[in-house]
Amino acid sequence: MTKQTKVIELEEVVVKFAGDSGDGMQLTGTQFSDSSAMFGNDLSTFPDYPSEIRAPQGTIAGVSGFQVHIGHKEIATPGDLADVLVAMNPAALKKYLTSVKIGGTIIIDIDNFDNKSYKKAEYSDDPLSDGSLNGYTIVKAPISSLTLATVNDMNLGIDNKTADKTKNQFVMGMLYWLFNRNMNDGIEFLKKKFSKKPVLVDANIEVLKAGYNYAETIEAMTTTFMVSPLDRKGKFRNITGNVATAWGLIAASERSGRPLFLGSYPITPATEILQELSARKHMGVKTFQAEDEIAGICSAIGASYTGHLAATSTSGPGLALKSEAIGLAVITELPLVVVNVQRGGPATGLPTKPEQADLLQALYGRNGESPCIVIAASTPANCYDYAYMAAKLSVEHMTPVILLTDGYLANGSELMQVRPVSEFPEIKPRIVKDNDTEYKPYLRDAETLARSWAMPGQEGLRHRVGGLEKSNITGEVSHDPFNHEDMVVIREEKVQRVADYIPEQTVIGEDKGELLVVGWGGTYGALISAVQDLQKEGRKISLCQFNYIKPLPKNVDKIFSRFDKIVVCELNLGQFKQYLQSQYPKYDYLQFNKVQGLPFLISELKEKFYQILEEK
């Protein structure tokens, strides 16, 4: 098949798939991502589910989207705007038109564009003729009807409903053509996916080919794109933040020799961590799906007392419910990893949308002086690393760690390079030997102030823990005023000393300059993209993205002091800014906040940074 069309080489491309919840757009998106990854591109993806399970067909509320950003270079976000939109119905078009670059390509399933569908999508005019699509390349493909025809022609005895479900392969076929990809990958994928239903393999492959051929045949698509592979070698996986978090915990369990226990209760967008670990019994993982969040964390505290690497996973409302029990882990000085996948608040809020507004809750949301280590992951793949570190710090310092991620990291995916577990730092739990006659429950390590871990079943170490204030060293209940003050100070100091065990804060860019952009957690992708764009233009701008929040790395003051201005960018009203203000009061912190349940756009960040750089 020789091509008549022009091939454009691109550094990066953003494709968005959108359709009804039942149209299989999540699957198509994943399939396209995987094939890009195998081809050698870097990538980042983000799904956009509706908040109803299946809102009425054809309505905007029912549209499900999936965005993927692939590149010949390193890719840090799923992209601001799409180069290509696949819109399976008018609702999808309406919802996402503003997310397409001017001049972008829009592939629509013309079979679904009729007056009835316009009405459901709340269009008053026909969008195909009202001029609203001027400036875009519109490909009107009869996807549904050609799919049906293809399958019916095969006489496999497949009913129309099932046949219709293969139409996402028609779309895939068109994209294979559009991106000059080898269709064999797709064929292999389908063979595996439907290995138990051979009829479906055949049907899907046929539809895939039909899509490819259709794209090649029609004249609407005169240009195709080529995004060449990156020049890098190694093993990679396309991984979501939630799976990476689960895996990081498994890795830490293996390295620490402590079996993994997760006590959890399902909640969007954290549920997949529980699901993933429930499917990992073959790695020796035990999961306990509790009756609620409180039982989730409490079962984990119990498991921690028995010497397990214990974790609990949740989102904001669940973290609120766990507050009291986190305090119990603080005062019993037991290790515990609390994963909080942030979503829009307050209360139930915007459960499917990302936000960074649980930071102050993580830091302060408990009665009494109740310090925890707080860390945050910043990309889907490094959820693995920070889950690992959370576990390491927790068992080595004998105190709970709150790991913050968010719905954007959790559901988004990117390529993770596979590194052998042995390359990760060792984890050394402070386990007491049987019959150690020196053992006292609250005897502490001189450096870290961590107590030791003795577990039921061990001989000669019987002791009790609990929520009442304990006497230092002996661990007996104590109402002594000075002991209480000592213990309050020790628990805080123990957390502060973790600063000696974490990496120094890095600065991306020059270590001095006009503007230091400060971010934390999941905004990394957008911030680094925006900052690097400005750096390329020669602006004196650098990025300081925090992963360690409590304690802060030791060199923060030194970094901050070398910049003329500091702007703290967050998806909340300024929580990290407020925290920094209280820790390093001498700086003036500018702030840039967005609380829309959406990630930062690179464009809006750049605009803000230009503006700050210009205000002298």
Binding site: G234, S299, G302, T306, A310, N435, E459, R462, G467
Partner: protein, 341 residues
């Protein structure tokens, strides 16, 4: 904390502490504690394997008063913490001590879920029908109409019956004992310990300070034998000072108290207690027997063996581990889905 040398053959002394027990003089807790300490040597092989978990309340101070591993946790949460302990390490002998408020007010949800999951934990429920530690407010088991610090005109809530609640939550073991009867307590604690699954033991406990004599109509020396019936599996339901009374299934499926020898009634007419019956209906009736019409049922009312949660989980883990080729994290990282560039 213990730093002593291990001796073979456990005795009650192995479980006693030297620190003072700080319950009020006359509190029902003392005799319960002593009965537990007497029972433990007979049901545990390694004292290091015993863990006592409690919530918050007077009763929940228990772990400080017994020489074992212990966790004095949060109000209402002991069930969840104990569930985590036993699920994580099924080898441990996990006991729980809780109060009527701790287990059935704030802890009610964990209580019914522990029971439903049937995790092998022995739960001792000190039912003094009052919040002791907070000084005398009504609890979910306080009899309707009782005047307490928060119900000056009398409560308007019907109480839970822990037995009914346990059975309603799919309970496999329920027993009821009196704090005044150490022999009965020890006997029943032994059975609870042997039961595989969640054992709920309701202990009618006297709180001398805030609810003194609330159980007097049951526990009083003079009335006890007339007002209670001690049930034993396989034995006819006989009670009374003279052991001359019994319980029979009457008309319309209602239980009746009958007098042996009267109207030609003999032992053979009496109900035989079948604690092992999988069907909980009769057990449900028995937990409900109430004064003045009936004696209160004591002893093991239900004991039905069903594989406990932690064992089923361990089986799933073991067979998953045996079946997989993915054994290490490196294997997992390189499992399908990986690609090399």
């Amino acid at each position: 904390m213990e730093n002593e040398v291990k001796v073979e053959g456990l005795s009650k002394k192995d479980f006693t502490v030297t620190n003072p027990v700080k319950w009020c003089a006359g509190c029902g807790g003392f005799s319960i504690l002593s009965s537990v300490q007497a029972a433990l040597p007979e049901v545990t092989e390694k004292k290091e394997n015993v863990v006592f978990v409690s919530g918050i309340g007077c009763s929940s101070r228990f772990p400080y008063y017994i020489n074992t591993y212990g966790f004095h946790s949060l109000h209402g949460r002991a069930m969840a913490i104990a569930s985590g302990i036993k699920t994580a390490n099924p080898k441990l002998d996990v006991w729980m001590v809780t109060g009527d408020g701790d287990s059935m007010a704030i802890g009610g949800n964990h209580f019914i879920h522990l029971i439903r999951r049937n995790i092998n934990i022995n739960l001792l429920l000190f039912n003094n029908k009052i919040y002791g530690l907070t000084k005398g407010q009504y609890s979910p088991t306080t009899p309707k109409g009782s005047k307490t610090k928060t119900s000056p005109e009398g409560t308007i809530e019907d109480p839970f019956n822990p037995g009914e609640l346990t059975l309603g939550a799919q309970g496999t073991f329920f027993a009821r004992v009196l704090d005044t009867d150490p022999k009965m307590m020890k006997e029943v604690f032994l059975q609870a310990a042997k039961h595989k699954g969640t054992s709920i033991v309701e202990i009618l406990q006297n709180c001398v300070i805030f609810n003194n004599q609330v159980h007097a109509d049951i526990t009083g020396k003079e009335v006890k034998d007339e007002h209670t019936i001690y049930l034993e599996h396989g034995k006819p339901m006989i009670f009374g000072n003279e052991r001359d009374k019994g319980i029979m299934m009457g008309k319309n499926f209602k239980l009746e108290v009958v007098k042996l020898g009267e109207n030609g009634i003999t032992e053979k007419d009496l109900m035989i207690h079948d604690a092992y019956n999988p069907d909980p209906t009769i057990h449900f009736m028995l937990t409900r027997l109430a004064r003045p019409e009936f004696p209160m049922a004591l002893g093991v009312i239900r004991q039905f063996e069903l594989e406990p949660y932690e064992i089923l989980l361990e089986q799933q883990v073991k067979s998953a581990m045996a079946a997989t080729k993915i054994k290490t994290m490196d294997d997992l990282l390189c499992s399908p889905g990986v690609f090399e560039i």
